[in-house]
Amino acid sequence: MLVPGVEIPHLCAQCHDYPCVPSCPVNALSVSNETGAILVDKEKCISCGKCIDACPGNIPFLHPSDNKAVICDLCGGDPECVKVCQEAKFNALLAVRGGRENINRKLFAQTPEELTEDVAVNLYGEKAEELL
């Protein structure tokens, strides 16, 4: 929440061209055939942070405990975060299934600053400018 009231989930959107994958100098990233999610091979990861820079939304991060890259793996296809959100009937998170070629996923790979700006303008109008 960079602006009061604007909470932004900041998660991997599975871009069609996966810019993070070729950015990895040690081939630690791969794409799951079943789910289309990025899989991180922690053994190979050298914590260089290149995938973070390559991602249009700077979505990956290095986990504080082992310093290895973290990218959403969709929990194997049935994401837990979506389950609790649906269970609580907030419906803020949604797993987009199937039809991968027809969805412009890359548009959703944005930095938290960009996402915040858009939502803040939606909620607050002109006032958002002052808050950013």
Binding site: L2, I52, I59, P64, P112, E130
Partner: protein, 615 residues
């Protein structure tokens, strides 16, 4: 260190700029838990002997921000703010919700204890790497939105610089004081997010007195280990299910604001024009009038909670354009609505946002505004005294007065001392007793729930409470009341279902504490310490239970309107309830905790200190 705790407390002496880690023995933690309980213990141990001489706004007072073992683990995380209260001169545990407590625990600290006074404005930054004191001159005087904007940006940059290349940092969390706190206004709150205040107690003023603008926390470590992770996982899921599967009425869908109709129109106990009335026929002022027009987000919660009692209210057009606030919740709807003679939801939102931006407590601050307006209505305060007319319902005047209080300008300087202290001063100034218009208990302005109709709060609920005017801690009996003491000590929210609370507590901490033990023994210790501090009071005001364990005079005037017209608080009932409560909690007929009771509870030091008052 027991489970559920991060393991250490941060202690900062601002005078010498020394920072160190402190721990407490397991026995103390098991007994006092955290939050309000531990704060009472720490305050009494350190200041008890000289309590009466400690100036709450002086460097010798402590500022405590403490979590508890359930904080951030049980849904509904809060942090408890305490110290010697500049309102009642006793100890009040005042809680506020937000992400600060979870960030603090993730950074490895269970709480922060601040002593001394900084030479110039500072803020304390707490991260995984420890704590540091940073300059805050650039945010001193800034209102909340601006403070949040500047500090969020600044701290993220500091963190990114310190740990480059690890990815984007989620924003840090703060507790801070607004301009009201900086000017040591006694009704100032400790703020969190944009509109969440720890209001009762006036601890914003304590922050201001220490030149402490904010505490900022960002932790990247995991939450503390729990004793039985498997059990906690199952229990958490159950509690969350209860929260998320509530029948989407109150407070999930509607916030506490819908209570306005229950309390205002149905049970007739909502303050109207400084409590001169407690009924209005503005149907459901607290309901759809806010919801349909102004809420842009209906489900909003703090970390780890699906209660979603927060609502995001925004005014997009008109004279109040650009106002952003939460809800407002019932208390603020009442205190910045009917109690100021305002029955327009847009105006109410505008004023409640303003009160938050300035860092007032949303109950205590507006109570003083309404008190001033009644004095104006009665001709005791005049246009010359105030500087402008102060008519009921006049938003611009109330805004001007609030700003005057924050600047401590003219009458504002007197009103900045809170309703009761201002009443004493104005009585002296005008040679007429105005304390009968002051709605407070022991210096703490009362929450928006009256006692006169008999449909809402109990007649002696506020009078005997060690938290004074706090509407969340009204007394009923010496057993049931301990529930709130526990929630304030484990520091969780009272809106979260509590059927599994004790199982949860044992699974987190690994202790065998039972509800019975808490309600009969442990909770009582905290109440007695708070009571002792309150009885000593000082240095400016001292309370006599025979006089001050009572409702404000207004609560004995008959209700002039509404379905309960003519009803009032029965003094005989109050006296009876008071007597019963004294007996059940173990206080003598003068309201002083009995020696044998204290000795049995192992509070020998409190007992010895109270000997002075027993003579």
């Amino acid at each position: 260190m027991p489970r559920g705790y991060a393991g250490k407390f941060l202690e900062v002496d601002l005078s010498s700029e020394k920072i160190k880690d402190t721990t407490f023995d397991e026995e103390i933690l098991r007994s006092y838990v955290g939050g309000r309980g531990l704060a009472a213990k720490v305050l009494w141990d350190r200041l008890g002997e000289k309590w009466q001489t400690v100036d709450p706004l002086g460097p010798e007072n402590l500022f405590l921000a403490l979590t508890g073992p359930l904080t951030a683990i049980y849904p509904g995380a809060r942090i408890c703010i305490s110290g010697k209260s500049p309102q009642c001169n006793g100890i009040i545990g005042s809680t506020t919700s937000g992400e600060f407590p979870s960030e603090l625990k993730c950074a490895g600290y269970d709480g922060v204890i601040v002593t001394g006074k900084a030479r110039s404005p500072i803020y304390i930054l707490v991260t995984d790497d420890g704590a540091e004191i940073s300059d805050a001159k650039h945010v001193w005087g800034k209102e909340s939105l601006e403070t949040i904007r500047i500090l969020t940006k600044e701290v993220r940059e500091i963190l990114e610089k310190k740990h480059p290349g690890v990815g984007k940092w989620k924003e840090p969390a703060f507790i801070y004081c607004g301009p009201a706190g900086e000017k040591m206004v006694r009704t100032a709150a400790v703020m969190q997010k944009v509109s969440h205040g720890a209001g009762y107690g006036g601890y914003g003023a304590v922050m201001g007195s220490k030149n402490l603008k904010a505490l900022v926390a960002k932790g990247r470590k995991p939450l503390p280990d729990v004793a039985s992770p498997g059990a906690v996982k199952i229990l958490w899921r159950e509690v969350d299910k209860q929260l998320s599967q509530r029948d989407r009425t109150w407070p999930s869908a509607w916030g506490t604001g819908y209570g306005g109709y229950d309390v205002g129109a149905k049970s007739s106990s909502e303050p109207v024009r400084n409590w001169q009335e407690e009924w209005h026929d503005e149907k459901s002022f607290g309901g759809p009038k806010f919801d349909f027009r102004y809420w842009v987000k209906r489900y909003w919660s703090d970390f780890n909670c699906s209660a979603s009692c927060m609502k995001l209210a925004v005014i997009r057009t008109g004279p109040y354009k650009g106002t952003i606030t939460d809800n407002p919740d019932y208390e603020l709807q009442a205190y910045l609505g009917p109690n100021l003679g305002i029955f327009d939801p847009g105006k109410c939102i505008y004023l409640s946002a303003l009160i938050d931006y300035l860092g007032f407590s949303g109950i205590n601050g507006p109570n003083t505004l309404a008190f001033a307006a009644e004095l104006y209505q009665r001709g005791i305060l005049t246009k010359d005294d105030i500087g402008f007319e102060l008519n009921w319902g006049d938003v611009e005047s109330f805004e001007a007065l609030a700003r005057k209080i924050v600047r401590r300008e003219g009458i504002g300087d007197i009103l900045a001392e809170g309703t009761y202290r201002a009443a004493l001063k104005i009585s002296e100034m005008k040679r007429v007793d105005v304390t009968r218009y002051a709605v407070h208990v022991k210096g703490v302005e009362i929450g928006a729930h009256g006692t006169r109709s008999g449909q809402d709060f109990r007649p002696a609920g506020y009078a005997c409470s060690v938290q004074c005017g706090d509407h969340t801690s009204g007394v009923y009996d010496a057993y049931e009341d301990m529930r709130m003491v526990f929630l304030d000590s484990a520091v969780i929210c009272s809106f979260v279902d509590q059927e599994l609370l004790w199982d949860f507590y044992r699974a987190v901490t690994g202790w065998n504490t039972t509800q019975e033990e808490w309600n009969r023994t442990l909770g009582h210790r905290i109440i007695h310490i708070q009571r002792a501090a309150l009885l000593f009071g000082g240095p400016d005001l001292v309370w006599d239970p025979a006089i001050h364990d009572d409702n404000p005079p207004r609560y004995y005037e008959p209700l002039p309107s509404g379905p309960y017209k003519g009803k009032t608080t029965d003094r005989k009932t109050v006296d009876e309830m008071k007597k019963q409560y004294y007996e059940s909690i173990g206080w003598d007929e003068r309201g002083i905790p009995k020696s044998e009771v204290l000795k049995k509870l192992g509070l020998d030091d409190v007992d010895r200190a109270l000997d002075k008052l027993r003579k």
